[in-house]
Symmetry: C2
Subunit: 366 residues, 2 copies
Amino acid sequence: MAEADEVNNKQIILRDYVTGFPKESDMILSSTKIQLKVPEGSKSVLVKNLYLSCDPYLRGRMNRIPLRNIPSFTPGSPLQGFGVSKVIDSGHPDFKEGDLVWGLTGWEEFSLISVTDTMKIPNTLTKIKYTDVPLSYYTGLLGMAGLSAYAGIYEVCTPKKGDYVYISSAFGAVGQLIGQFAKLMGCYVVGSAGSNEKVNLLKNKFGYDEAFNYKEEPDLNEACTYFHRRFLNIIFLSNCRYFPEGIDVYFENVGGPMLDAVLLNMRIKGRIAVCGMISQYNLEKPDGVQNLFCLVSKRIRMEGFNVLDYYHVYPQFLELTHQYIKEGKIFYVEDTVEGLEKAPAALIGLFTGGNVGKQVVVVAHE
Amino acid sequence: MAEADEVNNKQIILRDYVTGFPKESDMILSSTKIQLKVPEGSKSVLVKNLYLSCDPYLRGRMNRIPLRNIPSFTPGSPLQGFGVSKVIDSGHPDFKEGDLVWGLTGWEEFSLISVTDTMKIPNTLTKIKYTDVPLSYYTGLLGMAGLSAYAGIYEVCTPKKGDYVYISSAFGAVGQLIGQFAKLMGCYVVGSAGSNEKVNLLKNKFGYDEAFNYKEEPDLNEACTYFHRRFLNIIFLSNCRYFPEGIDVYFENVGGPMLDAVLLNMRIKGRIAVCGMISQYNLEKPDGVQNLFCLVSKRIRMEGFNVLDYYHVYPQFLELTHQYIKEGKIFYVEDTVEGLEKAPAALIGLFTGGNVGKQVVVVAHE
């Protein structure tokens, strides 16, 4: 193999397992060498990484015991996540040099990807079908975040026209899309986010009926008009200003006190799709949720789901969403940082709400 | 109307709304007069009450703000609940003197029941079909408790043969039956209860595969072998001794720390049917449940239900359960007290676990 094929490969390495709130110093920018050729006889694919996706679930993989049933990262090795890449060399018959792909890759400039990886998350790269949209969309809108929104709304929550839908973390990678899908289904949609900038975008760009900055909601214990006043101990929605009739469908992205407040305001036979609980990922001891009796008194169904169970509906999701994008019915806001070295700060920013929209790291522009 | 028709009517009156743990003195034995005739022109039914059902949900009706969406009791008026009665006089064409009925009645010797009551709970009396079983069964096994078990298992949880099923408060009015239904469906069934007497009956009379006394379980934080050790803060099932493979279906009757422990031990795609949360009814501030992230990591469906939504399946439930009783496939243990004056203590006993089986108050033997 020619000497010229070996290049430097910058990587973001996990220093050690993390407890509590992650710090930039938990991740190290490092460099190694990599041959730009797939080893002889291997069916692997060598890719150049273009865009990497920052997702809250990655925090769970930094624990010694993973938060979900996805393996923890290995200290001393690069982080992994979903990304958009270009094939440099391939030993696999389904891929050839120059192909644009999305899937699970490393937080590094070049990755050698074993397509027969036995990890439970989708272990094959997917060839990118539509290139008439920004390629970075495949880290979010047309990737796992988008599919999460689609599965959550069409397969788990199944709102009907006229339903009252509430979305927390509504400006996040998943949240943005849920509200727009729900609006297209004829629902009344309210979202919350952590800044007035996000709130304005939700209302004015995404067409949410209402949106509010949860950080600015006063403690409104006194004002709740819905039942279960005796259980009331928290804020946010508790005056029902945004939902005088209550909530039919709640798309849960944050957990903790927000969930407690929502439970009080759910309607009879409401549905809660639990996609994530970002407020809890860095806590040593999770918040206790007190209003679960509402599940009984209001016959609520609360269901956790994982996008990986819905990978089979990706093709129909892609067709629908691509069409909506082309018709200008769906918008998507990304927050991009340039350069792999900025990835650790971008990831940590998810937990402080620093990002405005889907957080993408640009490793290279093709 | 003849003077002889007026008799004394002992009643159990709610003194005032209750907060915290109920006391016997929250209920008063009182007496009034009642005409043993339905008023001229009324379509009401006058019944003599035989058996009254003590149910945990009655506690919620003692609050100023009811715990469920069933109206609170009125201070100064008798409690209400399900019971078995005999028709003394009827203005309603569907009922005649001597009929045995079950349904919502007063905690008193005689009740004048308006069959067109607009309360949301079933407002019609139901004529008793089978009298070859103890009539008191219609307060529990063949009444709302039995229908709760049937709906919970056949409509909400839908366990498959071989599923691991766990039932808390397994010796309660509902719990007894759930485990027996689940066994008849071919499940592996474990129940917990609050005394060794109950545990022995679960194993030896009801055929549970395992049962344990939750009061005797040590704190086993260290011993949990299932994932989410970082979230672990409680006891009970946490060493998985009873569920080395985890729990597919949990029938929730108690809430609080038990739910937290169960969440840690649920299997992927597990189902939790939430029937009640008896441990929480007397608390000013409910316990916080910390392990809800398990809903996401294990894609769990948790669903509250109310038997009143399943009243339409009562006929098929009755046929199945009556047949099981006649075939000796289902047993039911009742704890009876004799005399209306013992009703307050019997009701309170539900919350200390004093009863062994379904708690029934015998007001009169026909």
